[in-house]
Amino acid sequence: MSVDVRIKKMSEFLAEEKAPEILFWVGCAGSYDARAQKVSKSIAKILTALDIEFAILGEEESCTGDPARRAGNEFLFQMQALQNIEVLNGYGVKKILTACPHCFNTLKNEYPALGGTYDVIHHSQYLQELIDAGRLKVEGGAFKGKKLTYHDSCYLGRVNGVYEAPRKVLEALDSDLVELKRCKTKGLCCGAGGAQMYKEDEPGDKRINTERVEEIVASGAKVVAANCPFCLTMLGDGIKAEEKQEEIMVYDLSELIVQSNNW
């Protein structure tokens, strides 16, 4: 069954004098990165299949400013944040869904001090809520019995304490979940945070994503579930560097749901 997706913008809802149930904050990666675009599409498919009215900001969305802030560039962060808050408050946005833990964290924890307070939810939490409410049913069993592992992103896990929601979503897939040695509070970073994504590494023995991928290979898992576009890139690159891309697949939680349901 394929889902016919049409994505509306906030401006269209406004023109119809309506408001969507939720705003999907796509983020830079979800908008422009070829890998992360697939995640955006998966989320759009799930929302559409469940008849959830959602909107995106489209051209009115701008980088949250997270990488600028963590790089130390507070001016740029403030410009981005205040501009986004103007837009969000202008539309009277209440609830925001993000597919990126960095957007999630900044919108949820850093915008309130600047005058932007919203109910922000990461898609792994949203998927869990939908499953618990019986709205989202995971069918098929494409991953039934498959050895699958989960990589905690720092900004969903350690920073915001969300460890269980993504694991519950994975349980719904009936797969054989194996935990990595460093998981939950001790989860090892993929290497992209703190604006490392945009620069070369400092000299060292190896790249952080290599360290993480070695652990994934040792776990024997054939599928790695992630919840962050930057983790997807880092883990994907690391797996390629180890020449394991034929054996180990990296997917976002939403992609696993879409594949299971054949959407």
């Binding site: 422009y32 600028a68 600047l114 350690r158 945009y198 060292g204």
Partner: protein
């Protein structure tokens, strides 16, 4: 008044005086930092003190060191009861002042202290072996070379001497009690020295035994008093500072970097969100972030003095694990060392702080911490999570970045395209497509 009483009172006086000076100096060094904005939620703060500081909750993520550490901690806390008696005995020339009042309960307390002391002894020996014979990576990092390792060993050796003191003091006392000397109150047998005392000192002359007992008593109190002063030169201040440090620890989400209202208001006025008059027009260009200890808030300097250099943060740091120079523990040590450097200059009396509370000797934190270190950080919060006493090494790292980027326009060149792209097109990459182009191909 006996000579020993005069000596004791004199000793207390000297330690009191030196201690007061040393701890006042410590307080002054911590307060070189700026006033932090503290979240007002004292009930959570006290809860943290109870669970994390007293209860050592975060230590128990790793059971073996946690249990061993708990032995030493418990012995340290409970021994304070015995110290009260030592003080009374020392000043008034008494011997085991509490014994007649407490009777059987006295034996229980002293026995309890003795059992904990044995457990502490085991832990101390294990820690000495671990530090010197085993290759625990976090205890062998470059920043641990020299004084930090020596410091740790001195403390452990000091602990052994202290325990030796207790053993001599109580052990000889047990044998003297059996000799029915009226000066030695009949207390009944203590749990350990009740049998260990006769085994070690049985058959000695009364003079010899008194010598051993006095030696143990003085060694015990001298070690304790010496320790109070030594702490201020050492990494071991956590036994005192862990409590205020946990109390003052950040309560807001880890995910929130401290806001910079001066920049927020500047940007708001640029965007026409607030009238220009509301932005304070300082003639001087303000400095942002932290270049020196004066720019940090004092909570970060308290963090630095509280750090006991255990290295749990460094062991979890992804940059350090993969061989980068960054070590969160070293960042904390560097902040403390810089505060000490400034403190020593102030002690000399030849320099004073200016009206902004700053003293410029041409040096800064960047003489201790290299840019290579701060730019290797992934802001993953593993170090923050790892610290058993709620030290936050990430906060000063990000403040140092702010200083370098905002004041010096320095920082990794690789970041420039990202900054420019965000500024020009509102995305981290400069792409020709529209932001919603992905929606066309589902």
């Amino acid at each position: 008044m006996a000579l020993s009483q005069i000596m004791f009172i004199l000793l207390i006086g000297v330690v009191g005086f030196v201690g007061f000076k040393r701890y006042s100096r410590l307080r002054r060094n911590i307060l070189l930092g700026k006033e932090p904005i503290l979240e007002k939620d004292n009930s959570t703060r006290w809860k943290n003190v109870a669970l994390v500081a007293f209860g050592q909750k975060k230590m128990f993520k790793n059971w073996i060191p946690a249990v061993l550490h708990f032995f030493i901690y418990a012995a340290f806390v409970i021994t304070q009861i015995e110290l009260i008696e030592i003080f009374i005995d020392g000043i008034f020339g008494q011997h085991r002042f509490f014994a007649p009042f407490l009777g059987g309960f006295y034996v229980f307390i002293i026995s309890f202290i003795e059992i904990l002391s044995v457990l502490a002894l085991i832990a101390t020996v294990v820690f000495l072996v671990r530090r010197n014979l085993l290759k625990v990576p976090r205890l062998k990092k470059p920043e641990m070379k020299g004084w930090p390792t020596m410091d740790a060993n001195l403390i452990l050796i000091g602990e052994l001497l202290l325990l030796t003191g207790i053993c001599c003091m109580n052990g000889a006392d047990m044998v003297l009690q059996d000799m029915n000397d009226s000066h030695y109150v009949q207390t009944g047998n203590f749990a350990i020295t009740g049998w260990l005392g006769p085994m070690l000192f049985g058959g000695m002359s009364a003079e010899g035994l008194i010598g051993v007992e006095r030696f143990g008593w003085w060694l015990h109190i001298i070690m304790v008093l010496g320790f109070i002063i030594y702490l201020t030169y050492s990494k071991h201040l956590h036994i005192l500072l862990a409590f205020p440090n946990v109390f003052y620890a950040k309560l807001n989400s880890r995910g929130e970097m401290s806001n910079m209202p001066e920049i927020m208001n500047e940007v708001k006025s640029m965007m026409g969100l607030i009238p220009e008059e509301e932005v304070s027009a300082d003639a001087e260009l303000p400095s942002f972030g932290a270049k020196d200890v004066f720019d940090l808030d004092w909570r970060m300097i308290l963090n630095a003095y509280t750090c006991t250099e255990c290295g749990r943060c460094t062991a979890e740091c992804p940059a350090n694990i993969t061989g980068k120079k960054l070590s969160p523990r070293k960042i904390m040590m560097d902040i403390r060392d810089r505060a000490e450097e400034v403190g020593t200059a102030l002690d000399s009396g030849t320099v004073t702080l200016d009206e902004n509370g700053v003293y410029d000797d041409g040096r800064s934190l960047f003489d201790f911490i290299t840019k290579e270190e701060i730019y290797a950080c992934t802001a993953c919060n593993a170090c923050v999570e790892a610290c058993p006493i709620m030290i936050d090494p990430l906060a000063p790292i990000l403040e140092l970045r702010r200083s370098d980027i905002l004041n010096e326009s320095a920082g990794p060149k690789d970041w420039l395209p990202m900054f420019n792209s965000i500024e020009q097109v509102g995305a981290v990459w400069q792409m020709p497509d529209a932001r919603d182009a992905w929606t066309n191909e589902i």
